[in-house]
């Protein structure tokens, strides 16, 4: 006689030595209400290698009684989802530690920069004032000129006085809008092309069956109208390479 066999999910692990708890869900047809009722049962199961993790799907098999409450053992691990979870958990620790170290460094750098700005009374506005002063002064010293070029580099400026920082660059903005508009038009055009083709195929019986044969879907009449349409639509998009 074959041994008793169940498939279940590991719900508890690591609390008892070489023992896990497996939840088995089984249904039973109730004649009275003419309906299948689900029931669960938890089994204590022997796990010799202690390799199962919470969330694994396992097949368990009856053995001789191993203790008062334990007469099953793990036969197979069908899905090692729990072991994946454990791996994720281990990885997350190192990833988060690295991430946090980097973020904290960034934070401290930002704080240091702000504090030095406060002490040196630099900051953006003072830099701009300095640029104003140097550019209006024809007899500026070499040191000042050097500082000026450094600041221009820092704020990514090509000339001074600049309009770049305070005014909108209308030309660039127009070009961007034009580009988006073209994309939208292209999209509309593609859509209409696809829908025309789809309606043409759906109207023609011969074409439809040919396509369904190609897709390996059998008789198109057996499917619901919306499913049929969706499949054809996907086929057309693929065919047109959109």
């Amino acid at each position: 006689m074959p041994r008793q066999n169940f498939v279940g999910i590991v719900v508890s692990q690591g609390k008892m030595q070489k023992t896990i708890k497996v939840r088995v869900q089984q249904g039973e047809f109730n004649k009275l209400i003419n309906k299948r009722l689900l029931g669960r049962k938890d089994y204590l199961v022997h796990d010799e290698g202690e390799i199962c993790r919470e969330g694994d799907m396992v097949r368990i098999e009856a053995t001789r009684p191993l203790s008062r409450h334990k007469s099953f053992a793990v036969a197979d691990i069908l899905k090692n989802k729990g072991q994946q979870y454990a791996q994720f958990q281990r990885d997350a620790k190192t990833i988060v530690a690295q991430e946090e170290a980097a973020k904290t460094r960034e934070f401290l750098e930002k704080r240091g920069e702000y504090n030095s700005n406060v002490v040196n009374k630099s900051g953006m506005i003072n830099d701009m004032l300095f640029l104003d002063k140097v550019s209006s002064n024809p007899e500026a010293s070499a040191e000042d000129l050097q500082k000026q070029s450094d600041l221009m580099k820092k704020y990514n400026l090509s000339s001074w006085p600049t309009t770049k920082m305070f005014d909108l660059d209308v030309q660039v903005l127009r070009a961007q809008i034009q580009k988006v508009q073209e994309q939208v038009e292209q999209h509309d055009e593609n859509n209409s092309k696809v829908s025309d083709k789809v309606s043409e195929i759906l109207g023609d019986e011969g074409k439809l069956t040919a396509i369904f044969e190609k897709l390996g879907r059998g008789n198109p009449d057996k499917l619901k109208a919306n499913v049929r349409k969706n499949l054809v639509r996907k086929y057309v998009i693929n065919e047109l390479g959109l």
Partner: protein, 310 residues
């Protein structure tokens, strides 16, 4: 009959002289040994269960692990003097203020530039004071904290709805609400809101575990939570408040006499076992020390003896 009896006793005495029964004591029989082994195993198992449960219970299900770098950093960033209130960015404000100054200079050619600069500087100071995060209300600070958390958990720029973002936002709210609860013990409405928030966060994280386990473990690690605190059944009740000392050492639940005495007994038992373990350890250490000293003494003696042989 009498003679019979006498003869039987004499026979017994003779027997006892000639044959000796070897009798094992009850405490060292095979059955007793087995029983003892089982007892020890059970004791060890119970000890392990208690240790596992203790380890799980250490993490606060509301605030998470103490010293979580993410939470600490966000809380520090909120009160940082470089951040501004009302959701303004420093770069934008600077641009605006400098532009205003330039516009003013251009508009009033007759005025002395120095005076304009001086008044503008004063204005900048005033604006800085208004926008200083330290002068803002707690709700603005909370909003800033939530914004920073959202930006860090977003899957893409502008993401405000993915599960981990929701969990991060709730976590920030929970931290601020807990601080409020500690100060306002009788604000039952907000305590209720906090309770609901904690359970909502659990629910969304449980969904995330199903949906994207990799991201889930990353999120809980970052928020300082554990898998147990997410999946456990939890209600923010007085028992929790007493355990994690939300209101200091206040006693919030009066136990019945029987429960109290049970707890006391368990405590004394624990103390006793601890003391026993410590004593055993001390005895072992003393033994080791004695051994060490003996070894040293022997090593000191040995050169003498070697000299003697030479």
């Amino acid at each position: 009959m009498l003679t019979n009896l006498v003869s039987s006793t004499s026979a017994h005495s003779v027997l006892s002289l000639t044959r000796q029964f070897s009798q094992t004591s009850i405490s060292s029989g095979k059955k007793a040994w087995k029983f003892n082994e089982a007892l020890l195993r059970k004791k060890a198992n119970i000890g392990r269960q208690i240790r596992i449960q203790d380890e799980l219970d250490k993490v606060d299900p509301v605030l998470g692990r103490a010293d979580t770098p993410f939470i600490d950093r966000i809380k520090a960033a909120v009160v940082e003097p470089s951040s501004l209130s009302y959701g303004y960015e420093r770069g934008d404000v600077n641009n605006l203020l400098y532009g205003a100054q330039r516009a003013l200079i251009a508009k009033r050619p007759g005025y002395s530039q120095e005076q304009i600069l001086r008044t503008e500087e004063r204005r900048r100071e005033i604006v800085a004071r208004i926008l200083d995060i330290k002068n803002s209300s707690s709700s603005i600070q909370r909003k800033l904290g939530i914004k920073l958390a959202r930006e860090e958990f977003a899957r893409f720029p502008g993401d405000s709805g993915s599960s981990e973002v929701q969990a991060a936002i709730m976590t920030m709210k929970i931290h601020y609400l807990t601080a409020h609860m500690k100060k306002n013990k009788k604000d039952f409405q907000n305590i209720r809101r906090l309770r609901m928030l904690v359970q909502q966060r659990q629910a969304i994280l449980r969904y995330l575990k199903r949906d994207n386990p990799k991201r889930y473990y990353w999120a809980i690690e970052k928020l300082g939570l554990t898998d147990h605190t997410v999946t456990m059944e939890f209600n923010l009740d007085k028992r929790y408040m007493e355990k994690f000392k939300v209101f200091g050492d206040d006693v919030l639940i009066r136990e019945s006499k029987s429960v109290e005495s049970k707890k006391l007994r368990a405590k004394t038992k624990q103390k006793k076992s601890l003391r026993k373990a410590l004593n055993e350890k001390a005895a072992q250490e003393a033994e080791e020390l004695v051994e060490e000293v003996e070894v040293k003494e022997s090593s000191v003696e040995s050169p003498k003896s070697s000299e003697a042989t030479v």
